[in-house]
């Protein structure tokens, strides 16, 4: 049977909402019966993308972020969208250790973590208009019965 689920959340770009975003996606992901590791991987990636929208997209001003997630069979796709400054050079931005905000103690590892913990990462951005980060991960590749998050439904 074809499993399809969708969720969408609109929230303000406040740093308190980083935890909210992780919790919401984690709760949504639970129905896929992920391992602890898979759960942590997705939470880290979501946290990185939302934090980037808050700090870089909006420069810590409060505006709108749209978080959505889709489950299609054994894959989850998470999308984080902001309508902020945008990224002039995406390829450069995605290099490990590259950051435009060293003064804010950014490590420049956000995109690297998203890439490492998800299977696919797509970034589209337009300067002055905003950024969309879409990332996909297959759940259940690791053997079942290995530290999994309890019962599926």
């Amino acid at each position: 049977m074809r499993e399809e689920h969708h969720m969408k959340l609109e929230m303000e770009s406040r740093s308190e909402n980083e935890g909210l975003a992780r919790t919401v996606v984690a709760a949504f992901l639970l129905r896929m019966n992920p391992t602890v590791e898979e759960m942590n991987d997705v939470k880290t990636a979501v946290s990185e993308a939302v934090t980037n929208s808050i700090i870089h997209g909006y420069g810590n001003e409060v505006h709108k972020i749209i978080l959505s997630a889709d489950i299609l069979e054994d894959c989850i796709t998470v999308t984080v969208e902001d309508f902020g400054r945008g990224i002039p050079d995406i390829e450069r931005a995605m290099e490990p250790m590259y950051t435009t905000c060293p003064a804010l103690e950014r490590s420049g590892m956000g995109f690297s973590f998203m890439e490492a913990f998800m299977d696919e990462l797509h970034v589209t951005s337009s300067v002055g208009k905003g950024t969309v980060v879409r990332m996909k991960k297959r759940i259940g590749r690791e053997k079942a019965g290995n530290g999994s998050y309890g019962s599926a439904d």
């Binding site: 935890g19 700090i55 590892m109």
Partner: protein
């Protein structure tokens, strides 16, 4: 921020990191820790991860930032209570190239 996460024993400052070390938490820890580092004599800073279940790259930036500060004053930094997950993130973020890994 809750000062209970900071424990000073002599010239050693131990920071009990929270359950989730994200950008929000890292900013609070950064300003509170820097206030202590500016006003008190600290020779050793210990980041204690024993209560930490989640961290992202903002935690890496916060740790490296404090490391630079403490090293500049001639002090030392240690990491304890590191779980496998947190250890992996620290390694990926290059933290172990600066701060030695400890066997527990």
């Amino acid at each position: 921020m809750n000062r209970q996460i900071f424990h000073k024993e002599g010239a050693t400052l131990r920071i009990m990191l929270p359950r989730e070390v994200d950008h929000h938490a890292a900013e609070e820890i950064r300003s509170a820790a820097d206030h202590i580092l500016e006003t008190e004599l600290i020779g050793q800073l210990i980041f204690d991860f024993s209560g930490t279940e989640f961290m992202d790259s903002s935690g890496i930036g916060m740790i490296l930032g404090r490391y630079k500060r403490v090293r500049f004053m001639g002090g030392a930094v240690r990491l304890t209570g590191v779980s496998e997950r947190v250890g992996r993130l620290l390694a990926m973020g290059g933290v172990y190239q600066m701060i030695g890994k400890e066997e527990e």
